[in-house]
């Protein structure tokens, strides 16, 4: 891993909007390293600073302090047209007065590449995004998904060092979005270009990314692979933003924690009060009286198709959600008030930093 060179590096970036006392820090001391050829996602709720960071990498804004490096070169103050970085805009921003082919060739033409090279490159891009028959259409004649592919081809045509994608799939309906997710991943693998992808959709981030930076309120909360972030969230924000989870509190003596219902579970955590989390799918609902199971009763059930969520009441006022695969056809959902036992999967209970 360490041998892969860095493509983009953000060093202690601060970006403040406004002046003096009313200044708002959209980014507060953010540092990120993105490796070459990586599919890197900036994930967070709206207003977390992810788009601001993308705009700084593109050159549409300059940071209040800190540096942006591209392949080791300082590009902090380079204008966007001097950066070998291209952007896929949320609104696509296709040129309405140009055809599909002219849109795709725009970047190469502005770079002053020879006509033959532009033509050849445009043809290759059209093939890559499977839009050859549309080459001479105006972009307004295309569907949303096709426009999305033109935007991608236009940004990829000048073979940038890094491709920035600003929530590119948010305008598409669910089915098309799933298709484009696969398409994007394929394009990234075929071109080998570093992708920096901005989204607020945690599922999209988990399925597509090599690594994710979870952001909130201008700070990076955690950087890691999708698996890392899901299974070992660094703090309460990451745990709750990515997927669904249960929060519990307990008292730790260093080698075990005691929950409010009196259950003692072996785990190492700093002594004193600890915040704990466990994913709903790591809970096992078993018949009451099973060895080691905590007594509970079903408060309500919510049917999701493949899964059913069981809301459980434990002793000591603990409310917790367990996710179970829905029973096969004819199977009956558990009735409210049914007494059951609950087991935590081994190692699934995590202590969180605050």
């Amino acid at each position: 891993m360490t041998t892969i060179p860095t493509a983009v590096e953000a060093k202690s970036i601060v970006k403040a909007f406004g002046q003096g006392a009313v200044a708002i820090k959209a980014l507060d001391n953010v540092s990120i390293e993105i490796k070459q050829g990586e599919f890197f996602t900036l994930l967070g709720p709206s207003g977390c600073g992810k788009t601001t960071l993308l705009r700084l990498i593109a050159g549409f804004d300059t940071p209040t302090s800190g540096k942006i490096l591209l392949n080791g070169d300082d590009i902090t103050h380079l204008p966007p047209n001097k950066r070998p970085v291209n952007t896929v805009f949320q609104s696509y921003a296709l040129f309405p007065h140009l055809t599909v082919a002219e849109n795709i060739g725009f970047g190469l033409q502005m770079q002053g590449r020879p006509k033959a090279e532009v033509t050849e490159s445009v043809a290759r891009m059209l093939a890559l995004v499977q839009l050859e028959p549309m080459a001479n259409r105006k972009t307004s004649q295309l569907s949303g998904g096709q426009q999305q592919r033109v935007a991608l081809a236009r940004a990829l045509a000048p073979t940038p060092k890094v491709l920035l994608l600003d929530e590119p799939l948010s305008a598409l309906d669910l089915k098309l979005r799933k298709e484009m997710q696969i398409e994007l991943k394929r394009l990234q693998q075929e071109t080998g270009i570093t992708f920096v992808f901005v989204t607020h959709d945690q599922e999209e981030a988990l399925t597509m990314s090599d690594r994710i930076a979870v952001m909130s309120a201008g700070h990076v909360q955690q950087i890691g692979t999708p698996r890392d972030i899901y299974t070992r969230p660094a703090n309460r924000f990451v745990a709750s933003f990515i997927g669904e989870t249960n929060f519990l509190s307990g008292q730790s003596d260093g080698t075990s924690v005691t929950l409010a219902n009196g259950a003692r579970l072996p785990m190492s955590a700093p002594q004193g009060r600890v915040n704990l989390t466990i994913r709903p799918e790591q809970l096992r609902v078993v018949p009451l009286g099973t060895e080691g199971a905590m007594p509970a009763h079903v408060a309500s059930t919510v049917y999701f198709g493949t899964d059913t969520h069981l809301h459980l009441h434990l002793e000591g006022g603990i409310d917790i959600v367990a996710r179970q695969q829905s029973p096969a056809q004819g199977g009956e959902a558990m009735k409210e008030g049914t007494p059951v036992g609950v087991l935590f999967a081994e190692g699934a209970l995590l202590a969180l930093e605050d």
Binding site: N86, T87, A93, F106, M110
Partner: protein, 268 residues
Amino acid sequence: MANRAFEVARLPGFRTIALTAFVLLYLPIITLVIYSFNAGQSVAVWEGFSLDWYAKAWENEAVKGATYRSLIIAATASAIATTVATMAALGTTRRKAFKGQTAIYVMINQPLMVPEIVTAVALLIFFASIKVATGYTGLWYLIIAHAAFCVPFAYLPIRARLEGMDLTLETAAGDLYASHWQTFRYVTLPLMLPGIIAGAMLAFVISLDDVVITEFVKSGGQDTLPTYMLGQMRRAITPEVNAISTVLLALTVALLTAFFLLTRKNDK
């Protein structure tokens, strides 16, 4: 739309009023056009069809001179006005609202609000002193005067066009290696072109049609078509005036139709 509470079209007498309005608007113009083909001397008594008055106007040296002057002034003045209006529109749109924005809009559109006769008198006095100082008596006084009052007519369609333009397009051009100049040349300008053409045509028509300011500012022998026709009215009115008016009307309708088609295309 279908269930609007108030629909003018359903009021009693709507058809009658609308029809009367259209008749009042267009009947005089239709009469004027018809009598331009009159064989006789009168603009009120029909004596048979002929194209004599068109031929007469065509051969009239004074009409030729006035037409030539009108076209030169309208072309030059609308070109100047459109250039100024384009720059004004670029400067006043596509940015956050700024202090004094309304004041600037009002100043640019001032010729629409100040009575034309006031502008005419002011220009007359202003140019008179320049004439005395320089001795220049050429067409440029008229061109500058026309350019000045044509600016708002050119400005409004250009501004409307620019306000509907997505600024992200220029950001995208910059992202795709276009310099500021290239962004303007290959993205901004082509996108605002329909607005510029519409503005130029409107300015051209307005200049071609002007009487009041021209009458005040022109020097001797600088009649444009409208002021020539006004002069003719003072003497005997012949269908020659109708013929000239009809040609002017045809030209204006052609330009305004083109203007309409261009601006309608913008909406798509």
